[in-house]
Symmetry: C2
Subunit: 229 residues, 2 copies
């Protein structure tokens, strides 16, 4: 939203867009490494060897720069953790994929898009203001994606029809965030543990539409996914 | 550690200590609200109406100020989430208490000591340096407290003797951190859910040394705790 708005404010040339994209890539890099609060126009100008006034013309204020950076990080987050799940068959397989991709994003490297938003929840979580709201909105959209996928699984009769699904998106998200927290504390098996917990939740939801032996272990489940893809 | 070292560096008078304590209270307040990175000597001097040079004499550098602030936050964290559990009988009751106190600290207010360190894990988690190490050390000490309490429960025969306990401190910590994450995303029942998950873990560990009906629900467990206190 903010990105589109700022794009209108900036020169509409494709060169201007490229410059903006380059600036925002660096901004996401700084924010991922040092936190969004460390991202000032002066700091970014120094890193890009640009003038502060030039950068100011692109964004107008620190807050607008931060919001555009969140929007850019959100694009990466969507590409990393949401889009690939659309290639997976709808239902519990896609629900798994949404969780698995989030963990893969973390496992890929230190400054992943999944890290960006996990860190932002805790950093901004108890503060007011537009930056906190923008960060929370990205994660709440993700909760909604989990909700939609659960409803699809229910329509496909992969979930027992009378199951109360309201708590499940929060439970899955809690497993992911918790695993990441203890991973950062040095518990290297945290995501192995999380994957088997998530499979356990799937097992407790699944009807016979899913072959029961496919849900026996993460290994069996992965074999099953390969077959249905 | 750092606090003691700096205390030796500062004047040993009790007035000096009081001044230092007052400065560090304000420093913890700023860091809890805005993150440890926002805590500079200039910022703190402004908030305290003190001179930068006066504050510099107390701490010597931003990093030393940050380390002393972590040490002060750790004292609060210990007082809030560790010390009160020592009044609870050793074993599974104390293990519960260690988890419950952490959640109570979060529930008490926005800028709790438990928030301070949860936020710090994610903010510093993937960065090098002494500040990140100091934050992680506080949380790892907590993992060790959980480990010790589990071993005690095992000695008291409240846990089956052949149970592998290595994963449990990480699992409990993951439940707490995950619940806090989704709480910050607006899932208000997150800690209710976490308490019943933690009780579920206790139930799966417990021998008949704990009356089985005490572990049936969080309500029943709280009643049991009132009786044994």
């Amino acid at each position: 939203m903010q990105l589109q708005k700022s794009r209108r404010d900036a020169k509409p040339s494709s060169r201007g867009d490229q410059t903006r994209a380059g600036i925002l890539s660096k901004a996401v890099e700084i924010a991922s490494r040092e936190g969004l609060e460390s991202l000032t126009i002066g700091r970014l100008a120094g890193q890009l060897s640009m003038s502060k006034s030039g950068l100011f013309a692109h964004f107008g204020s620190k807050q607008k720069l931060q919001l555009a950076t969140i929007e850019r990080a959100k694009e990466a987050f969507t590409n990393d953790t949401l889009i690939p799940s659309e290639a997976v068959p709808a239902g519990l397989a896609r629900l798994w994929s949404l969780c698995d991709l989030w963990m893969k994003s973390i496992e890929q490297g230190k400054h992943s898009s999944a890290h960006f938003f996990a860190a932002a929840i805790f950093y901004y979580g108890c503060r007011p203001g537009p930056i906190a709201r923008a960060n929370t909105a990205v994660m709440r959209e993700r909760l909604n994606a989990l909700k939609r996928t659960l409803r699809e699984a229910s329509r496909l009769k992969e979930i027992e029809p009378d199951t109360d699904l309201t708590e499940i998106p929060g439970q899955l998200t809690s497993i992911l965030i918790g695993a990441y927290g203890v991973f950062l504390l040095g518990e290297r098996d945290a995501f192995t543990e999380a994957r088997s917990q998530i499979l356990g939740r799937l097992r407790s939801l699944a009807t016979d539409e899913i072959p029961p032996d496919a849900l026996e272990s993460v290994k069996a489940w992965r074999k099953y996914l390969e077959k249905i893809l």
